[in-house]
Symmetry: none
Subunit: 418 residues, 2 copies
């Protein structure tokens, strides 16, 4: 079962909005065991949309279009479906009635321009829109199932679940296609090329089971998938093999973030956390507090950008800053220990480094990209030195990732506290 | 000048990540006066990628590909370019050297799998990657300019600006294409429908000058564009008219963020800033420190999530928390005044509210979405109350926007200090 996803709209091609519909439709079809083989985005022009549809039909069992169903002259999905399938457009009287009711319920009268929304290519079926005015369209043509959904994401999502997924599921079942199961392993503290090397022949698998590897700033993701009978067992076997090779770097699975994993570990240990951030400027605190319920374990965060703040709020001795500098192992340790003592938290994580670009702090022996990360707990203080030059955004993101991973490794050393 | 944008990756087709690269590339090409006529997303399969390239070349002056340049066997953009253009792949010795240097600078040795990244189709040019290991590729073929950029967004963006846009600009100039001039006005403290109402007939303009209105969490953007002779003058006239209607809400233009505007105002006034954050959990500090050079004016930030932290680090009287609660005007004022006094900063911004979902803090009279924002400076303290229920992410983002906007309004009241 193969699918093509088509997005329609000039504002997408101008890059003014991100195409969240295409990602959502792709994700849901993939979960149902359908392979999305390509996506296409076209503007509000009839020939382009018609051509995209005609190119997709011979290649796809399922085609999902989003956008171009609204009331303006720039909405051309209905016409393109009719043109591609060689059918006339016919007004649906039941839909016309529903449209009048929708407006009446809101004390309004539909504009003349709303009524073309009630037209469908002959042989197609209108899909009711329960949270907007533009109905969707369902058409079976040359054995392909074609769905046209409205562009506003909330309307699209509701219609996708109610009218598309059940028909897709039925077709997948009829064709005997097995649902594809997937599992994503998330890694920190290792680069993409080293992870790929450790996986070796695994990433050359073909057929029912696949292993993919993806990277973003400070993170590598390994995507395992399998379909057909025994997919679950094959997935478990693959995961075991990957963990054997890379287990110590795996911090979570599927949608788990490092901040969620750290939060869970803190909660299990009934431990609290304080943060002392210099170069990450509050990003670690913001990530920690993205997790609902983090107020249960997050005691306090100090963003001590200025040296004066390190002294005042964290009690870093002025002598350390004078002699070792604010970007030094000594300072990182003093920040972590100061944050722990002053907040009364069980764990304290501190980072100090040089984000750049340039700036007064950098020097030949203290280049942009240098960072020290320290964790203080009841057993003492550990400190790591890293060097990762990059843009300011990359540096903040990567250092927050390295820091949360060090904290994670310190937390898993310690058994649950009574 | 027409362009096609191609995104590569199974991860995109499975809907596991949003395709932010395609939106960014589209937006930048549009700004340079190039019309993006279609976008295509293909998986990690050589025939699909080669076919997409071959289909694009006769239709586009410019083709930008992102993804598929990494070190794994699933990275096939190099091979697809070579196959589509009918050229062999050749190793670039200079790039090989640069790769070794990149790893050496980080105290590491490249894996064997990294070296194929240094191969290019004969006649193509490698584009240096200044913030990652995978170089880009530039190829002129049948009069089309083809650029292949790495998938990680930070690397893609840097390379897009440095190596793609200048070549595109040169070609646009040579072809005599009229650049579309655009100007974006950024607004805070007003919703999309109210802004649209104030603009009235302006957003119905057609032809050479266009006015678009876009919204995201805590922000409305008004996009003005014009092309052809006199575009600059028409744009200025449009901007004047929009500012007449909505000027007090306009905080910046084009790419200016609220944190950049606030930073500029602080710098001009030679003033320093302290932050006391509860419900935004460090997001405001992180936004302030996203600006290079913010260490010049950012004194310190306290993320006082727990009541204990508000007392210890900010000196909020325990009586206020006991009697008025931690989400109250009294507490917000005490947090701002405490942060200002303890940090020695000129301005202090404080937020305290209920992000939700649920949580011990909420109550009938203190619902999720309630927030108090205070600014303390030499003239005293002001406090605003807002109510914006939403998801946790939306709440943090919107409150950080409201808070920075209040600070901006306080700053513009005050003339430059001598």
């Amino acid at each position: 079962m193969k699918a093509v996803v088509i997005s329609v709209g000039d504002e997408l091609l101008a890059g003014e909005v991100a195409d969240s519909n295409a990602a959502r439709i792709s994700a849901r079809l993939t979960e149902e065991g359908v392979e999305v083989t390509s996506r296409h985005t076209v503007g509000d022009r009839l020939p382009d949309l018609t051509a995209a549809l005609q190119a997709a039909v011979p290649r796809a069992d399922i085609i999902v279009i989003s956008g171009g169903l609204g009331p303006t002259p720039a909405d051309l999905t209905r016409q393109a479906l009719a043109a591609a399938a060689g059918k006339p457009l016919i007004r649906d009287e039941n839909a016309t009635l529903k449209l009048r009711e929708y407006f009446a319920a809101r004390g309004r009268i539909p504009a003349e321009s709303n009524f073309p929304q009630c037209e469908v290519p002959e042989g197609a079926v209108l899909i009711e829109n329960t949270c907007g005015t533009a109905p969707g369209i369902f058409l079976e043509w040359n054995k392909s199932l074609i769905f046209a959904l409205p562009g506003p994401p909330a309307e699209m999502r509701e219609m996708l679940e109610r009218a598309v997924i059940p028909r897709v599921r039925e077709r997948v079942k009829k064709e005997g296609g097995g649902k594809r199961k997937t599992r994503v392993l998330r890694l920190a503290g290792i680069g993409e090329s080293n992870a790929a090397e450790a996986l070796g022949n695994l990433i050359r698998l073909e057929g029912d089971s696949l292993v993919g590897i993806y990277a973003s700033t400070g993170e590598v993701r390994i995507r395992l998938s399998s379909r057909g009978a025994g997919a679950g067992e094959r997935l478990t076997a693959l995961e075991t093999e990957v963990r054997k090779r890379l287990g110590k770097h795996v911090y979570g699975t599927d949608d788990e973030t490092l901040e969620a994993v750290v939060g869970k570990l803190l909660r299990e240990r009934k431990a609290t956390l304080a943060l002392a951030e210099s170069c990450t400027g509050g990003l670690i605190a913001s990530r920690i507090t993205d997790i609902p319920g983090s107020s249960d374990y997050f005691a306090a965060g100090i963003v001590a950008y200025a040296n004066e703040a390190k002294i005042r709020f964290l009690g870093v001795p002025a002598g350390i800053i004078r002699e070792d500098g604010s970007v030094s192992e000594e300072c990182a340790r003093a920040m972590a220990e100061g944050a722990r003592a002053r907040s009364g938290a069980d764990f304290a994580l501190a980072v100090t480094g040089i984000a750049g670009p340039g700036g007064a702090k950098s020097a030949p022996e203290k280049p942009v990209g240098l960072v020290y990360i320290a964790v203080a707990d009841f057993s003492g203080t550990v400190c790591e030195k890293h060097f990762w030059p990059g843009t300011r955004d990359q540096f903040k993101q990567r250092v927050s990732q390295l820091a949360l991973d060090l904290l994670r490794r310190r937390l898993i050393r310690i058994a649950h506290r009574a």
